[in-house]
Amino acid sequence: MIDRPARKYGGLTLPGTRIPDVGRRPSYTVEAEEGILGNCGLMGVCDEAGERMSGELAVRSMASMHDRGNGLGGGFAGYGIYPEHPDHYAFHMMYADEDARQDTEFYLARQFAIDHEEPIPTRAVRGIQDEPLLHRYFCRVDAERLQETQLSEADYVVHAFMDINSGIDGAFVASAGRNMGAFKGVGFPEEIGEFYRLDEYAGWTWTGHGRFPTNTPGWWGGAHPFCLLDYSIVHNGEISSYGINKRYLESHGYQLTLRTDTEVVTYLFDLMLRRHELPVEIACRALAAPFWKDIDLMAADDKEFYTALRTVYGPGLLNGPFAVVLGMADGMVALNDRIKLRPLVAARDGNRVYVASEESAIREICPKPEKSWMPRAGEPVIARLRGAAFGAAPQSVPAEVN
């Protein structure tokens, strides 16, 4: 066991804890084989006007939910954080050793034009140990190379992401989106935030997560957010429909290597938003579908629409307790399961939309929001960057559902 003394973070005093000494992770797939169960805390904040906020805000909000995690995983995603490389795919890499790094760099150099690379800056934090090698690469996709493969640019990047995660031992892509990045690891969220020096970044959207894995040692790659392209997911809950969701995704060519619910949620969003071009509020209605008893009461055309949505996306229905926050290039979406078995609170203040597992985590960084509410089961909270449209949805769709 490792003793962590009581300490202060921002204005908060955090209690001391004992956490299991999980030692060094033997391989990057052990946890995947064990499965992950857990109960967690999460938050998200998005400034719809695109004004950038210090990462410290997200860290402080998560710190107030310290007790929702057990120190075995914490992480953040920030959007708008790389203004100097806004169009590059920022590969945030975790390596178990030098071999993994060399293999990955060989691979990346072959697949991409790397315009800049550097170690991800960190600072020593008590309690954070055995971190993997952390490195980031700002990559461009070579037009000629893309032509050869006949893939869309997004698919090309997804292939690379999957190749590395499933093919290179000891290498893990934490994120590979544009103007965004995931910062995650084993530790309490506020420790992870300090370790990654998030106070030195500014972004218009931040999401955060603290994990409570119940039966497995944490590992750095397994912490949230889980990312694909510009999408990032933080998730609290367990997907009881995992088996069929996974098979549904596999028949669409996704390789699910991690055996985590979060991976499934991320890929389902990718399938619906990017590949099927569904507006995000519609994708949410497919993932946390309205009940038939409610559909039966709808007007004929609505009934037709929701019946089609449910019958087509039935295998993608997320069943079981969950609250998720999806970060995207152009905003943020929070969603609860269809009978709200996990907590989720939302608030708005000016241009900013906040969501969190606990209202206190919102009030910690926004003491007096204009309004705060408890989103209903299956009803998404959507924050959109001005001028941005999700998928095919027109501008006139209300900015949030509440």
Binding site: S240, G243, F291, D301, A308, P315, L317, G320, S396, V397
Partner: protein
């Protein structure tokens, strides 16, 4: 040598004269004439050789004076040449004929369903109480598009989503249980009436089987699938349009590759009108459809039926045979909206025993390989899979769905609900329960209202049980169990069978 039969009766029927009230009911009730009243003594004298243990007499004897027991006659033991096989040899030596049997394969092959266990939630994810929360069993059968396209239309001050994708017609059922095809002719009209009324009340589907649709059943057409089999009995344009979908029957689990034979005795006037064949003639369904000798021919028939019906869903029923995955894939590509898989335990009114007991594969394996094949080919959404042939309980339904079926069809279980005791003598046409017979004195024993109520009760009970299973699994819609092998574990299956099923052994977690 004189006419001597070597086969001794399977059962022994005994009357307890101390209890018998000499009422004569047993003689009246038995369709096979087991009981004859002795005019002198006033007691029934049973002829055990005719008894199939259907329990009709036992059920109606007011004095509980009838004992039907297994004939204890000893045979010199042999595990390989069992008394059953010896009897078959004797019967064939006597008659020179093919042995016939009714109902499904009763041989002790491995019952895979009984080696599969379902999961449940504990602690980390909550189970759901079906008595307090909605639990959705509603299912849609038919072809679904790959994706949904949306457009936004004005709605008051704002906009709302509207469906842009053109959807094929789907069959909505309120529980993932439909009725398998049982033809009028093999079963009585009262059975058909019971099934139609029950299907309507349950919000599910009955299936005409290949004997056409009696005019009395017109009001139930939204809940009736009309079948078009190789004999094309009773098939005409109005018939094809008389249901909500059409089923092409290629094969049947109880007798894959074999045609049908309804003996002339069962072709009375009404059956003859419905089937459009002369009264008293044998109704022979050829083994293959004589216009289907390849998958292209099947495609033509599918589209001919769609044209004839204004594009109602077309189901294709095939027996589960060795190559079922490839066949099902071809059937889906040929345009079928539903693939109906019938496993080797499926029931029948009459089949050659050798075929019934030795041809085909278990439905559990067929579901799994077909579902996987359609997924691998990216066409799983193009057709629904109905699994039949050996579905005996709600647990079987839940397991079949977890293996990948959209819904299950049941037949034998429905007849059992109506009184059938699985005596396997359906082919004789003298069913004492009035189920698979056309003799008016027997068919009137089944009151359709009573029959419908029993079937509604049965399916409602199973649906409640499936809801309990879903609740324990922590999901509130049946689509979250469908194809979720992850929620199944095997107990006592060999490794290869587990791999084919895609199921891990019990004791292994995620």
């Amino acid at each position: 040598m004189a006419e001597v039969t070597f086969t001794r009766p399977e059962f022994r029927v005994r009357i307890d004269k101390e209890l018998c009230q000499q009422c004569g009911r047993c003689a009246h009730q038995c369709g096979w004439g087991v009981h004859k009243m002795d005019e002198e003594t006033g007691y029934p004298v049973p002829d055990s050789s005719k008894c199939g243990a259907c329990h009709r007499c036992v059920t109606f004897c007011p004095a509980q004076a009838i004992l039907v027991e297994k004939n204890p006659l000893a045979y010199k033991g042999s595990d390989s040449f069992s008394p059953e096989l010896r009897k078959a040899v004797w019967r064939q030596a006597e008659t020179g004929g093919v042995l016939l049997a009714g109902m499904g394969n009763d041989k002790p092959y491995l019952r895979i369903f009984d080696h599969l266990l379902l999961d449940a939630c504990q602690v980390t994810n909550p189970s759901i109480d079906p008595l307090r929360e909605p639990m959705e069993l509603r299912t849609f059968l038919g072809r679904k598009p790959d994706k949904v396209e949306v457009e936004y239309v004005p709605d008051g001050d704002g906009v709302k989503p509207k469906l842009k994708t053109e959807m094929d017609r789907l069959l909505q059922i309120e529980t993932p249980i439909v009725f398998g095809g049982m033809s009028y002719g093999s079963v009585s009209l009262n059975v058909h009436r019971s099934l139609a009324m029950a299907a309507k009340e349950l919000g599910t589907l009955m299936n005409t089987g290949e004997g056409g649709l009696h005019a009395d059943l017109q009001p139930y057409q939204d809940n009736i699938v009309v079948q078009c089999a190789s004999g094309r009995f009773g098939v005409h344009a109005d018939y094809l349009n008389a249901g909500c979908a059409v089923e092409i029957k290629i094969g049947q689990g109880a007798k894959p590759g074999i045609g049908g034979h309804l003996p002339g005795e069962k072709i009375n006037e009404e059956v003859s009108v419905t089937r459009m064949i002369p009264q008293g003639t044998d109704a022979l369904s050829p083994a293959p459809h004589h216009d289907i000798y390849s998958i292209e021919d099947l495609r033509q028939l599918i589209y001919a039926l769609k044209e004839a019906t204004g594009y109602k869903p077309v189901s294709v029923k095939i027996a589960a045979v060795h190559n079922v995955a490839a066949i099902a894939s071809g059937v889906v590509r040929a345009g079928a909206d539903i693939v109906y898989l019938d496993g080797f335990r499926g029931g029948t009114g009459a089949a050659p025993t050798v075929i019934r007991d030795h041809v085909g594969i278990p439905i559990e394996l067929a579901i799994s390989v077909v579902d996987q094949r359609l997924r691998d080919e990216g066409i799983r959404n193009r057709a629904s899979v109905i699994a039949a042939g050996g579905i005996r309980s709600s647990a079987d339904v839940a397991k079949a769905i977890a293996l990948g079926a959209d819904a299950c069809a049941i037949g034998s279980a429905l007849l059992v609900a109506l009184g059938c005791h699985l005596c396997q003598k359906c082919h004789t046409g003298s069913c004492s329960w009035g189920i698979c017979t056309q003799k008016p004195e027997l068919t009137r024993r089944l009151d359709p209202e009573w029959g419908a109520e029993r079937i509604v009760n049965l399916v409602t009970a199973w649906s409640h049980e499936i809801a309990e299973i879903l609740g324990a699994l922590g999901v509130n819609a049946v689509e979250s169990l469908r194809g979720s092998h992850e929620r199944l574990r095997s107990l006592g299956l060999d490794q290869q069978t587990q791999e084919i099923l895609g199921v891990k052994p019990a004791g292994i977690g995620h």
